[in-house]
């Protein structure tokens, strides 16, 4: 029972972190119709910038300044890169962001090298918040939950209660009309792209100390974020939230309970073959849930795309 609670908290942390990335990505997608392959690269840049800043001014300034820099970079990418490629169509756009992801990874290696950065949790947060049956919950995790929830509420507030949010929502569905009403739609696009990437930057800043700040960090998370918004339904903020939490919990639970495939198969009445070692399916029988935890999201995504192409919360497209 206690273990379940611990896993719930861990899964929540992972899920909310995913959500901070997928929220920006899905907003960008629904506005501009472009899936930004480089989104997780901005998350990585957030972590690296914050690390470099924290060397001089400490963690908190990093948390404040790094996302700003990342957001400005993101807006620049939209203004000078994407907007140009947009005229060639969607496929080149996707290829562009893909190339950008490669380039940012190389750039990070160029500047900071290939090794992991010693970016650490600040001392004020480096203690155990409480313990559940001997499993200590670090205060930093609580801090991460707090930040993500605060950002989510802020985002929801801006989108539903402010004028800017109204315009953005309108521009999501009717960009032409909004433009005709005299709003500067390209500027809105650039802004949303900047804010989306800045959110990714925040995620990087707070995830860097726990998940590690290294050149592969974007790649590790990048495709999972993609998977998240596809499962949730492209363009749906609630879908992104649901899918993020779902993936967070599924992977956490799969990792912490060691279930073997043979147990499941035996459970549903399939008998383990006697000569397992010669069987070509032998690996299938010995697969354990921690082994496949990281590919569960992909399996889920493929299933979703086959059976419900619009995703959990997506609108059926015509």
């Amino acid at each position: 029972m206690e273990l379940i609670l611990v896993n719930l908290i861990d899964g929540l942390v992972t899920g909310l972190l995913l959500f901070m990335l997928s929220a920006g990505l899905t907003l960008i997608f629904s506005m501009m119709g472009v899936l930004n392959f480089a989104h997780a690269s901005f998350y990585m840049l957030g972590a690296y910038f914050a690390y470099s800043i924290s060397l001089y001014t400490g963690f908190w300034m990093g948390l404040l300044i790094a996302p700003l820099i990342v957001g400005v970079l993101g807006a620049g990418v939209e203004r000078y890169g994407l907007r140009r490629v947009h005229q060639y169509g969607h496929v080149p756009e996707l290829i562009f962001t893909f190339g950008l992801a490669l380039l940012i990874e190389e750039l990070v290696q160029f500047i900071w090298g290939k090794n992991q950065m010693p970016y650490a949790i600040p001392d004020v947060l480096n203690f155990t918040a409480f313990a559940i049956a001997g499993n200590s919950i670090p205060a930093y995790k609580i801090f991460m939950i707090f930040i993500s929830v605060a950002i989510f509420i802020g985002l929801l507030y801006i989108l539903t209660k402010t004028r800017v949010g109204m315009i953005i929502q309108a521009a999501l569905s009717y960009p032409r009309t909004v433009e005709a009403l005299g709003h500067n739609v390209p500027l809105i696009f650039m802004g949303v792209f900047g804010v989306g990437t800045a959110l990714a930057g925040v995620a990087g800043v707070i995830a860097g100390p726990v998940l590690g700040t290294f050149p592969g960090m974007a790649f590790v998370l990048g495709s999972i974020v993609f998977v998240t918004i596809v499962i949730g339904g492209l363009g749906s903020l609630w879908g992104a939230l649901a899918a993020s939490l779902l993936i967070g919990w599924i992977t956490t639970f799969a990792k912490s309970y060691n279930i073997e495939m043979s147990d499941i198969l035996n459970g549903i009445g399939v008998v383990t073959p006697a000569d397992l070692d010669d069987n070509i399916f032998r690996d299938l029988w010995t697969v354990t849930s921690p082994q496949i935890a990281d590919i569960l999201p992909y399996i889920l995504m493929v299933l979703i795309l086959i059976f419900r192409p619009a995703g959990l919360f997506g609108k059926r497209h015509t």
């Binding site: 496929v91 562009f96 500047i111 495709s223 992909y298 795309l305």
Partner: protein
């Protein structure tokens, strides 16, 4: 052209200058020799290359090139001809290759046929996987297709460490190509034998893929790419057209995997992963997706650049990434597109007028870019060389990377080179416009 020039209503018959049936015959007769010519030239060239580049390493590089050519062409059946962007195509090549490794290890079966037949099996396995995945992934083009390809790609790549029986886990699967039935007494012990096998299969696959693009389903792939809706109102199901392209592409990807297996006698997770899928996208796009020969150029140039640059600099992937992003932004037609841009000037017989302006702009520009690369290398050296190591070698010169002089020189060359290129660029543009305008003073 103005619309009023159009002949109105029924025209007198005499006005039809070309008799349709005769034109068709002429076209067929002419196109036969014209279309065969490049293939014959390519065959002769492929046969001669080992006499020019005799070393084993050169043969290895060329084999790598031909394998990449097959893979890139297969990839372009999707991207260029079918408009489907795949982020997981390495999987089909990889599975074809892994299947071939297993066949190599089934001694009795492998000894029952000669090695040059093996790629057929690779192709069939690649195709088999494509049949399964394509059955659901080709329902949509665009973003959904790209996402499924990514998901399936990641899934299978991740399986390689789980399903050890087939993928061999971390070590991969290795085998020995020489256990095949001797092919006219040849056991493919030597690199040169493998070269001819690879080159033969490359030419065959390229030829078949070219022919594919001329078949009804190949033409409709283009139609579906450009306007799926219109294609549907012409009797074709966009989904099935995509499916057939996808399966055919899977076959040739599998062939390239088999050629890889024959050449290297080992396959690992690296043959399947997203990085490999990314590389083939990069190669194809750099070469140019708009023309059949684009991926061929891409594969040759990329393999050369990769082998040469990766020996020269640690930063080669950085340069490749930069080049890629710049290509997408400024030359979406890739190298092939750049080449074909010059066709109108050649037709007008004015291409000669471009040579001097090109030299005036591109030469200083290239020198400037090289100097910028030099600066990048120096920054990298200063940042990442072990402390106290101030000596670096660049462009065959060794100097102290912490001294002022080299920096001044490189910055100077970069500024001057790019500056000259900038000032001569308008002249180049004028020359370009002039070369592409019919008639005129020239």
């Amino acid at each position: 052209m103005s619309n009023t020039e159009l002949p109105k209503g029924a025209r007198p018959e005499e006005q039809i200058t070309t008799d349709p049936s005769r034109a068709a015959q002429r076209m067929r007769a002419g196109s036969m020799t014209l279309t065969m010519l490049p293939w014959i030239v390519a065959a002769i060239l492929l046969a001669m290359l080992p006499y020019i580049f005799t070393s084993n390493s050169a043969l290895t590089i060329m084999n790598q090139m031909w394998i990449t050519v097959v893979f890139a062409l297969a990839y372009n059946m999707l991207l260029g001809q079918g408009g489907m962007l795949s982020f997981g195509h390495a999987v089909y090549a990889g599975v074809g290759g892994f299947a071939c490794m297993h066949i190599m290890n089934m001694s009795d079966f492998f000894a029952s046929f000669p090695l040059p037949v093996l790629p057929v099996f690779g192709g069939l396995f690649g195709m088999g996987l494509a049949l399964i995945v394509g059955s659901f992934s080709t329902r949509n083009a665009g973003t959904v297709f790209a996402m499924i390809s990514l998901g399936v790609g990641e899934l299978i790549a991740a399986c390689s460490v789980i399903i050890v029986a087939f993928f061999g886990g971390e070590e991969g699967i290795s085998g020995d190509r020489t256990y095949a039935m001797p092919f006219f007494g040849n056991e493919f012990l030597q690199q040169i034998n493998v070269y001819y096998l690879t080159a033969f299969w490359m030419l065959l696959s390229a030829g078949l893929m070219y022919l594919w693009s001329r078949t009804p389903v190949g033409r409709m792939a283009n139609a579906v790419r450009d306007n799926p809706e219109r294609a549907e109102f012409l009797g074709y199901s966009a989904r099935w057209v995509r499916f057939f392209s996808f399966v055919a592409s899977g076959f040739f990807a599998g062939v390239s995997g088999a050629l890889f297996a024959i050449n290297y006698e080992i396959l690992t997770e690296e043959n399947l992963n997203t990085a490999s899928s990314g590389v083939i996208l990069l190669v194809t796009f750099l070469g140019g997706v708009g023309f059949f020969f684009g991926p061929i150029i891409g594969a040759i140039v990329f393999t050369l650049v990769q082998t040469v640059l990766s020996l020269q600099t640690e930063l080669w992937a950085f340069y490749a990434g930069t080049l890629f992003v710049l290509t997408v932004m400024f030359f979406p037609g890739g190298l092939a597109g750049l080449l074909m841009m010059h066709v109108p000037a050649f037709r007008l017989g004015k291409a000669g007028g471009l040579i001097v302006p090109y030299l005036k702009t591109l030469l200083p520009g290239a020198i400037g870019v090289l100097a910028v690369c030099g600066l990048v290398e120096m920054v990298f050296h200063v940042r990442h060389a072990s402390t106290g190591d101030h000596e670096m070698t660049l462009f065959w010169t060794t100097f102290d990377s912490h001294a002022i002089l080299p920096w001044v020189i490189f910055i100077g060359v970069a500024v001057i080179g790019l500056g000259i290129a900038r000032t001569t660029a308008p002249a180049l543009r004028d020359a370009w416009n002039e070369a592409n305008t019919a008639g005129g003073s020239a």
